[in-house]
């Protein structure tokens, strides 16, 4: 039978030509394989070598992590008797501590509730098409106060001291607080560093350069010890709060430099167009310059956030019990000797999931904000 759809005699009105399927062999899995994995001898060798490497690594890893692993046990010896692989029973027993630190057990629901509210507060910020986004955003604004009340207590709830905070909960508190406050602070610092007003420019530049020139650990030590010398005697100033402030300003200094790079990448013509139509400084920054500068800065900003999140483990050095601190403490339990690998792999998985999510979100955001060719 002749193929009528391809008949060359058919005429179409311009702009009304029906879409034809692409020729066979230009799409699909086979083509992808051929193009990306087997396109040349060198490529074939590489592909085979990689496959062999994966064959060597994956099965034993899978065995250790899952297939031969023991998920419930009362002690290390029990574990070893039951299976060759990882002893997750240990983590299982300690999960409460890993998550909540020494938060009173009967009050842990408050932490869970805070986490749930955190998700509710973050969603409208990250998800632009959320239904009822405007109302939900108001909740996001209130969230810091609500969460502080829930976690610390008072006003009807039993008070919990911050030295009982620990584990993943502590990581999340430091990470989220640092991220939420360092972004606006970093943006203001970046704008200040470009200000026409010398005084503001000097202060911002000095601040940024000083903070960037000092390791975070030093700042944390300052927070834990030195501040007592500067503050009037008798004032108590919560250690966690001091750490939060230090982590925030540390990350703000880096954000400021990332954003400054973005600001410089916005063409001069954009400022001029905004000026020429009569927008004032703050309006032109907020509506024209910053949206473009921040979009350019997304990879750098998220990079800084990921760094901040991971650096929150440094607080273990000044005695706060983040997951690493809890892990180390739990390893000294005589019933569970020698399970360091399990503990650190577990913590690594937690951090990887958090940081990888941030990275994926930043890619999603970049794609969403892509509006065609740059002008």
């Amino acid at each position: 039978m002749p193929n009528t759809s391809n008949a060359p005699t058919q005429n179409y009105v311009p702009g009304e030509h029906p879409d034809l399927k692409p020729p066979i062999g230009q799409t699909g899995i086979l083509l992808w394989l051929r193009k990306n994995l087997f396109s040349s001898t060198f490529n074939i060798v590489l592909t085979l070598a990689t496959l062999y490497f994966l064959y060597l690594v994956i099965p034993p890893l899978l065995n250790w992590l899952v297939l031969d692993a023991v998920f419930q046990a009362g002690s290390r010896d029990e574990c070893r008797a039951l299976g060759e692989g990882a002893c997750w029973g240990f983590i299982d027993k300690r999960l409460g501590q890993f998550t909540y630190g020494f938060y009173p057990i009967e009050e842990r629901w408050r932490v869970n509730l805070t986490f749930l509210l955190l998700v509710m507060a973050v969603l409208p910020v990250l998800w632009e098409k959320m239904p009822k986004r405007r109302i939900m955003l108001w909740f996001s604004v209130l969230f810091p106060f609500v969460s502080a009340w829930l976690l610390l207590g008072g006003f009807g709830l039993e008070s919990v001291n911050t030295d009982q905070f620990g584990g993943f909960m502590l990581t999340m508190i430091i990470g989220v607080t640092g991220i939420v406050f360092s972004l606006p602070m970093g943006i203001l610092l970046a704008l200040g560093r470009q200000s026409q007003l010398h005084f503001i420019r000097w202060i911002c530049t000095g601040f940024i350069e000083f903070i960037r020139g000092v390791p975070l650990i030093t700042l944390l030590f300052v927070a834990s010890t030195m501040l007592n010398y500067f503050l009037p005697p008798g004032t108590t100033f919560d250690l966690l709060l001091r750490v939060l402030i230090m982590v925030t300003i540390f990350s703000a200094a880096y954000i400021a430099e990332v954003v400054r790079g973005g600001l410089q990448a916005v063409p001069k013509g954009q400022h001029e167009a905004a000026d020429a139509m009569g927008l004032k400084y703050w309006a032109s920054m907020r509506l024209i310059v910053l949206p473009q500068a921040l979009k350019i800065s997304i990879p750098g900003i998220v990079n800084t956030f990921i760094g901040l999140f991971k650096d929150s483990t440094l607080v273990v050095i000044i005695g706060l019990l983040d997951p690493l601190g809890i892990g180390r403490a739990s390893l000294s339990d005589s019933k569970w000797q020698g399970l360091a690998t399990e503990v650190y792999v577990f913590i690594a998985i937690f951090f990887f999931i958090c940081c990888f999510s941030m990275s994926r979100y930043s890619i999603y955001l970049e794609n969403k904000l892509h509006t065609g060719h740059r002008i």
Binding site: E272, A273, A276, L279, L287, P291, T371, G372
Partner: protein
Amino acid sequence: MTDHEAQGAASMQVSDQEMIRISEMHKWYGQFHVLKNINLNVKAGERIVVCGPSGSGKSTLIRCMNRLEEHQRGEIWVDGVELTSDLKNIEQIRREVGMVFQHFNLFPHLTVLENCTLAPIWVRKMPKGEAEDVARAYLERVKIPEQADKFPGQLSGGQQQRVAIARSLCMNPKIMLFDEPTSALDPEMIKEVLDVMIELAHDGMTMLCVTHEMGFAKTVANRVIFMDGGEIIEENEPQEFFNNPQSERTQEFLSQILAH
């Protein structure tokens, strides 16, 4: 009214109301004396074309009129307000003066419609719905109403420049400044932009336009200004300017660009 007769277009009338007055104005970039003793009066409804060789200070001159550049000596009055370092005056003048740039300078993160409504909403405090109606009307006028929801990066150069013109018009300005609006465009797109500008002139807009489009100058302008070395060398009606240039430098310049 000689220019009235010369143009033969009843719509392009010049009134006696003074829109811009520049007197004995000087500007330096550091040590470099870029504008020298500029004197210029522009009346409402005038269409002035500014031409001259590259680097002669044309852009700098019209950018002084809305204070994108600062002058150091002399006076500039726009619509009865003097341009000084007083921010209030600058803002007031910028509200009344639209500017179209060589490279369009559209905001790439906003749609065409948002580009057009931004200033009316934030500077004129117009309600959003009204601003959108105004914007759509002007997009209609520059003949691209169907592009309202696209981003600038998805348009051709000519379309982008027409959006830029519409964006300025949305502020309902009294004066429009154009800095080489067609020189970044491919030849086939120049006409669509010039057509919009010609229509604008027929509607009585006061226009100052830096351009090398001599056809546009002949049909639309009521005055042509020739600049060289930071000075206004010659200033005349288009007919006189092209047929009977006075200074040697003007003759040389004209012979160069008309040779193309």
